[in-house]
């Protein structure tokens, strides 16, 4: 018989069972009759002949069963039978089954959900052709610990034209543009590029062509390539879009191409335009571009890195004043995209894995306890002819059914969980759009179901099957041994639960401590009651005098609004989206040649800025009305800038320039020093900063910073009204409160803390339930013994300590293991923590204290109940 036939036979077996059974019956009858006839022939009387025949045949039913088994095809039949039996058992104990399905559903669901997130963000390759060839390229400041810095236009152009290991190297920077002529004026996210973005990613345009490198030169044509979604949403997917023009910041751009659906880089880009940067407006010292490149096929990243490092060295030689200690660094794009999030997500995955393990330990414990309660049933089955294999199989089927139901619930929960994750996720997690519960996730869920079944089912199944029938039937004498044996397994599982819970609790503790520290960070300014919003005047319509006049009037009008205490304007607001650093040259000051690279973060502010944000003036004076366009060019620097660039001196009166060779560039005189602020984000230490009067260095994009009286409401509409009255074609960015903005910076920490917190809580509850269940079960098993002890004069204290002492070991051992595990795991967490060490004593003692108390209560309740048992009741049990 071929394998296929055998398999077919097994599957159709249950349907042919009736006939086969008849055959067996008939064949045995034939045999018996032949035997009887033979006996009759030998002269035995009929009754005796039949008796002998039966005797010779042996135990009929037993042999029938053996014959059935030998016939084959019974596996599937037995499976169906086991399944029916299991379903009946589970329905018979709805509370028990429900609890297990829920616990496993939560465990498997949470694991599958987090896995889906990790898979979408971290594991899956980037959704571009040959994603491994894509690299992020940036410059580094070798003096500042290889700190990442953006490119300057000339450096990028030099590197791009000299290098040969990349198929292309594109620089890009955000350009805020106002789209007019389609509905209300809107600020859209345009990306200025030095080369075609689609070309770099190796993607064919959906329509038309990509931007060409020569188009990004300062005299290049105004063309644009649209993202598919912008084309669909703003232009209705117009097929004849090529050659159409768009008004962007009062300039006309011709549409030359549309990207294929789903492609946008950076992900919030609406369209790409040529950068049109010139070396005059964007000199070598001005760093603001980010770079992305595509390796030539077969070129390893190390080769490209070596080549670009040598280019960086040559640039340093040719332009020592701007490129000193500037390296070039390549990172695989995926690493750049996923970055820190990878670690955070992997930690979440680890945390959820621990919850799943605890859930498994709990379920295994429950099954063990029930296995004990079912010993009689198992013994009866064994007496009726079930072999060890049959019993293990039955119990495994039961467990498998439970876990499968839990897994099904888990997949449903995972779908909800992923939705919840996406809804709750803060900005900063890349590739959110790629997260889904997909085939891979379902395979993982299935794998979990199988693994969990084996983990939680094998031990109790094995235990039950190896229980000696005699021992059960003689229950009482051997019970002690059985219980003792079981105890070791249960204690082991409890130890595991306690240890894992502690690790999670400590993780959650560390993260909350870190978040508290983060809230305590001294930002250097007072964010309370500050609103901010950004406004961009189209450069074409406003030249410097008009710009200055408009901004002055704008500030004046805002200041008169009810509820407003003070107003200032700034270009490059703290904690904003973009920052510019510029290298400068000292004037009349001998710089230490070994000293730090002279550069500062540039901010242009209106009078009243420091006062509005409560940034303390440490020396000299603040900006005032006299610092007009025609006044002496002045600057105020931050404390860090003073200490770094003019160490040991009073910087007031010192002068510097951004380009001494350019006669149009002013020479700035320092008139004041102000306190440091956290400028780029709240964690990164302060940068050297320089402030300039906006009137002396006008910008078309300004952020209004408004301090309001506490409790001022509806201020946003008032802002809109002022802007609308002054120029109805101006769009207004989202108005936000500075405190909210700071909250956003902590959002991701809060987010991860939230998840770890949920997992830790879940773990603790599960462990407590596990402890409670086991202790309660043991107490119930020993009720009789306890009753005897009480009757013999044992006090409540003795009983309590008797029950407690047996459960102290797993809790203490678990605590020790947990602390050890947590300290090891804390190292992993370390980089996510702010100013908190992984062995932070507050978190450590807090977690241990909490866990031990919860464990204590979970043990104490059943122990106390045991001590209260009246001996008369206890003795009657069983």
């Amino acid at each position: 018989m071929t394998i296929l036939k055998r398999i077919a036979k097994r599957i159709i077996f249950p349907f042919r069972k009736g006939r086969l059974e008849q055959d067996l019956e008939e064949e045995i009858r034939f045999h018996l009759e032949m035997e009887v006839e033979a006996n009759l022939r030998a002269g035995v009387d009929p009754a005796e002949a039949r008796r002998r025949a039966l005797l010779a045949f042996g135990g009929m039913e037993r042999y029938k069963t053996q014959a059935r088994e030998a016939r084959g095809g019974l596996g599937f039949e037995k499976f169906l039978q086991d399944l029916r039996l299991s379903a009946r058992t589970l329905v018979g104990t709805p509370l028990f089954s429900g609890a297990i399905i829920l616990v496993l559903g939560l465990g498997i669901g949470a694991s599958t959900a987090i896995f889906s997130v990790v898979n979408g963000v971290v594991l899956r390759p980037l959704p571009y052709p040959d994603p491994d060839r894509l690299v992020a390229a940036h410059m580094t400041d070798e003096e500042d610990g290889d700190f990442e810095v953006p490119w300057s236009v000339p450096s990028l152009r030099d590197a791009a034209s000299e290098q040969v290991s990349l198929a292309s190297l594109t620089g890009w920077g955000w350009i805020d543009v106002t789209l007019t002529g389609i509905g209300d004026p809107a600020v859209i996210y345009a990306v200025g590029v030095s080369d075609g973005m689609l070309t770099t990613f190796g993607i064919q345009p959906f329509l038309g062509r990509d931007i060409r490198p020569e188009e990004s030169l300062s005299n290049g044509p105004r063309v644009t390539v649209l993202t598919h979604s912008f084309w669909q949403e703003q232009l209705g997917g117009d097929e004849g879009v090529l050659g159409r023009t768009l008004r962007l910041s009062n300039q006309t751009y011709e549409v030359v191409g549309v990207a294929p659906p789903g492609f946008a880089f950076p992900s919030s880009a609406a369209l790409w335009i040529p950068g049109h940067w010139s070396e005059d407006t964007h000199p070598r010292g001005r760093h603001f571009l980010r770079g992305i490149g595509r390796l030539n096929p077969g070129t390893p990243i190390e080769t490209a890195q070596a080549e670009l490092s040598s280019i960086a060295a040559r640039l340093e030689e040719e332009h020592p004043e701007t490129n000193r200690a500037r390296g070039i660094h390549l990172v695989p794009l995926k690493e750049q995209t996923v970055g820190d999030v990878r670690l955070a997500l992997l930690i979440l995955l680890g945390a959820v894995g621990m919850v799943l393990l605890i859930a498994c330990a709990n379920v295994a414990n429950l099954l063990l306890a029930r296995g004990a309660a079912r010993m009689r049933e198992v013994a009866v089955r064994a007496t009726l002819g079930a072999g060890n294999g049959d019993i293990v199989r039955l119990l495994m089927t039961e467990t498998g059914l439970l876990v499968s139901l839990g897994g099904t619930l888990g997949v449903v929960l995972a779908l909800l969980g992923v939705k919840g994750f996406l809804a709750a996720s803060p900005g900063g997690i890349p590739r959110l759009g790629e997260i889904a519960v997909d085939g891979t996730s379902l395979v993982v869920a299935l794998g979990l179901v199988v693994t969990v079944t084996v983990m939680v089912g094998f031990l109790p199944g094995y235990r039950s099957a190896n229980t000696s029938i005699a021992a059960v039937i003689r229950e009482g004498k051997d019970k002690k041994i059985q219980v003792g044996d079981r105890r070791i397994t249960q204690s082991g599982l409890l130890t595991l639960e306690v240890a894992l819970s502690l690790v999670l609790l400590l993780g959650a503790g560390l993260m909350s401590r870190s978040l508290i520290e983060l809230r305590r960070v001294d930002l250097g300014f007072d964010p309370e009651n500050i609103y901010q919003f950004t406004l961009t005047l189209p450069e074409a319509g406003y030249h410097n005098p008009e710009l200055i006049a408009f901004q002055a009037e704008f500030r004046g009008r805002l200041a008169t609004l009810p509820g407003v205490e003070s107003v200032a304007l700034i270009n490059g607001n703290p904690l904003g989206r973009s920052h510019t650093t510029m290298g400068f040259e000292f004037v009349g000051y001998e710089r230490d040649p070994e000293g730090p690279d002279p550069n500062m973060l540039i901010r242009r502010v209106s009078p009243g800025y420091f006062e509005t944000l409560s940034i303390p003036l440490l020396r000299g004076r603040s900006f005032g009305a006299r610092d007009r366009e025609d006044g002496e060019p002045v600057a105020i620097i931050s404390e860090t800038a003073a200490a770094r660039h003019w160490p040991g001196e009073d910087p007031i009166g010192h002068r510097f320039s951004f380009d001494l060779d350019d006669p149009d560039q002013p020479v700035w005189t320092i008139v004041g020093v102000v306190g440091d602020v956290r400028s780029t984000d709240i964690i990164t230490a302060t940068w050297p900063e320089a402030y300039f009067p906006m009137a002396q260095w006008p910008r078309s994009t300004v952020t209004a910073v408004v301090r309001t009286r506490p409790g001022s409401r509806a201020i946003e509409d008032a802002f809109r009204q002022v802007v609308g009255e002054m120029d109805s074609s101006l769009p207004l960015y989202h108005v936000e409160s500075l405190s909210e903005r700071i909250g956003d910076f902590m959002a991701s920490d809060r987010f991860y803390l939230g998840f770890v917190g949920i997992f830790a809580t879940l773990a603790t509850i599960l462990s407590a339930v596990g402890l409670y269940g086991v202790v309660a079960y043991l107490v119930s098993k020993r009720t009789r013994e306890i009753g005897i002890r009480i009757a013999l004069g044992a006090g409540r204290k003795e009983i309590l300590s008797l029950v407690l002492s047996e459960n102290v070991t797993p809790v203490l051992l678990g605590t020790v293991l947990g602390v050890a595990g947590a300290l090891a795991g804390g190292q992993v967490l370390g980089s996510l923590l702010y100013q908190i060490r992984p062995w932070d004593p507050v978190a450590l003692f807090g977690a241990v204290g909490l866990l031990v108390s919860v464990a204590g209560i979970a043990t104490l309740i059943p122990a106390r109940d045991a001590a209260r048992i009246p001996p008369t009741v206890a003795m009657k049990v069983e």
Partner: protein, 110 residues
């Protein structure tokens, strides 16, 4: 099993069944009687274990069964050897030969 009669070695029953069927197709009872006769009632097959063995052999495809009519005119399930079974028989016989020679040598030398 009565005392004084050797227990069948594991797997030998199958060999005996195959050998019996190599002579002629036969029903279960006939097989048992045949083996009993030939062994001069030394090998009395625990008859209940006959059918499991038959079913096992059928499942493996070494023998096949058909409902026919026995000598007595009763409906009986008659087993016959398949080609595969014949091959199996040849190899098992050889195996048994080697085995019994080996055992005899050991016993003879003791």
């Amino acid at each position: 099993m009565p005392k004084g009669k050797p227990d069948l070695l594991h797997g030998t029953l199958e060999l005996l069944i195959l050998k019996t069927l190599a002579l002629q197709p036969l029903h279960g009872w006939g097989i048992a009687k045949h083996i009993g006769h030939l062994s001069q009632e030394v090998l009395e097959i625990g008859q209940g274990s006959l059918y499991p063995a038959l079913y096992r052999l059928e499942d493996r495809g070494w023998i096949r069964a058909e409902w026919g009519v026995a000598e007595t005119g009763r409906r009986a399930k008659v087993y016959e050897l398949t080609k595969k079974g014949a091959k199996q028989l040849a190899s098992e016989e050889a195996h048994w030969e080697a085995f019994s020679v080996a055992v005899n040598r050991v016993l003879g030398s003791a």
